[in-house]
Symmetry: C2
Subunit: 241 residues, 2 copies
């Protein structure tokens, strides 16, 4: 780990899906409730993983690769949902019910340490998401989950996605800070590496349950990551907040 | 006053300088403290009014009229300050001191009802600034003053200023809402009128002391304004929050 000279840090920006909120557990819970209400049996863990992997990651990859025009992640989620509902045999939903389920991404549950950790970190730093979620999704999610952000930073503000360099320049531009005054907190090594390549500092907080008990695990970050913390409370300790 | 059917309102956006915070009183207080520290006598009320009127309003008018390229209001404030310091005989400030004083706009004091009123309103609505202040200024001001915004909306995000139409389209675009689901709260009639012309709802909260005891007063709004409230607590009452 690099020498921990964090005094110059003014802002912490956070990856959200997976790092702050448990998207998979939240989706499964809402799916199970929907299935019970409709009397349908669905493999919700598999449904959640496919929606996330192919709708979100796959959709952004097509756009970043030049194979599709820009669309926000709200749009990507909805298009994939419209494919998945018949594929998983989920019928009989009204348009209002589909629209509501599509916005489950606005109702995700934080990891247990997230709100208390952010509340401590906020006393010392500007804290904001830096997410590919839309501005609206991040705003409504924060209200629903009690995430005490100082402002909302979505890559949608530049019609781009992480890990494009423009995404990592956004917080500095908006907050009037130099890149080295900003630290990205994320559970994903590729996000941290791209942040560092664009001059940001990096803190790794592993979330080993992101893809479930038997799901894929992130590799360990390399030694250039300045802080490794077990959760957001440990991060607050290590950053003196 | 129009029929008060506010059930469909999802978000309240607020003019900030004058409506939420007392920019003039705050500037005068910091000016007096600076003058005492430096042993200089300055007409701070006059200084504050000139900085506001010519630096901010005048600067935006030149840009909107096509007579100057776009510059954020942070830049406009700094350029005007550099003119006003010698004009008012304020010398002997280091660059760091000038930069600090230029950012007094990030340290403005809210009107006495603002924080408690916003805290109530936030329980029912998404609340955000819709201001010509920069994203950085609005974010730091909120932290300093305890303004509990759900997100920060600055016209800087579109390189524009109120009352340009694009400024009033911004909250709907970012929040994924229709114009009629959004209400602007402002102490300024021209801001409310432009909001209504672009489909937003309008609430008037007079701030008769904005320009001081003997300063200019806003005219009364016309009858198309849906809500007139004496302060943010009265606004919360009238909107059922």
């Amino acid at each position: 780990m690099a020498d921990l000279s964090t005094d110059q840090i003014k802002a912490l920006v956070f990856d959200v899906f997976g790092t702050v909120v448990d998207w998979r557990g939240s989706l499964i819970r809402e799916g199970v409730a929907l299935g019970e209400a409709k009397g349908i049996q669905v493999d919700w863990p598999h449904f959640a993983d496919e929606w996330r992997r192919e709708g979100y990651h796959g959709g952004m990859a097509r756009i970043r690769g030049g194979n599709a025009p820009y669309m926000s992640t709200d749009g990507l989620f909805r298009i994939k949902l419209d494919e998945l509902l018949p594929k998983y045999g989920i019928g009989g939903l009204s348009e209002a019910e589909v629209a509501h389920f599509s916005r489950v991404w606005r109702r995700l549950t934080p990891w247990p340490d997230a709100v208390s950790g952010l509340t401590r970190l906020r006393r010392k730093f500007i804290i904001a998401p830096l997410s590919n979620g839309t501005f609206a999704t991040l705003t409504v999610m924060a209200k629903s989950a009690g995430l005490p952000w100082d402002c909302i930073i979505s890559t949608e503000l530049r019609d781009t996605f992480k890990p494009e360099p423009e995404a990592y320049r956004l917080p500095g531009t908006l907050l009037g800070l130099d890149a080295e005054q900003i630290m990205l907190v994320a559970a994903h090594v590729n996000d941290l590496r791209a942040a560092q390549e664009n001059g940001l500092r990096a803190a790794f907080v592993p979330r080993p349950l992101e893809w479930g008990e038997d799901g894929a695990h992130e590799p360990a970050p390399d030694r250039s990551v300045e802080v490794v913390a077990s959760d957001f409370l440990d991060l607050a300790d290590k950053l003196g907040a």
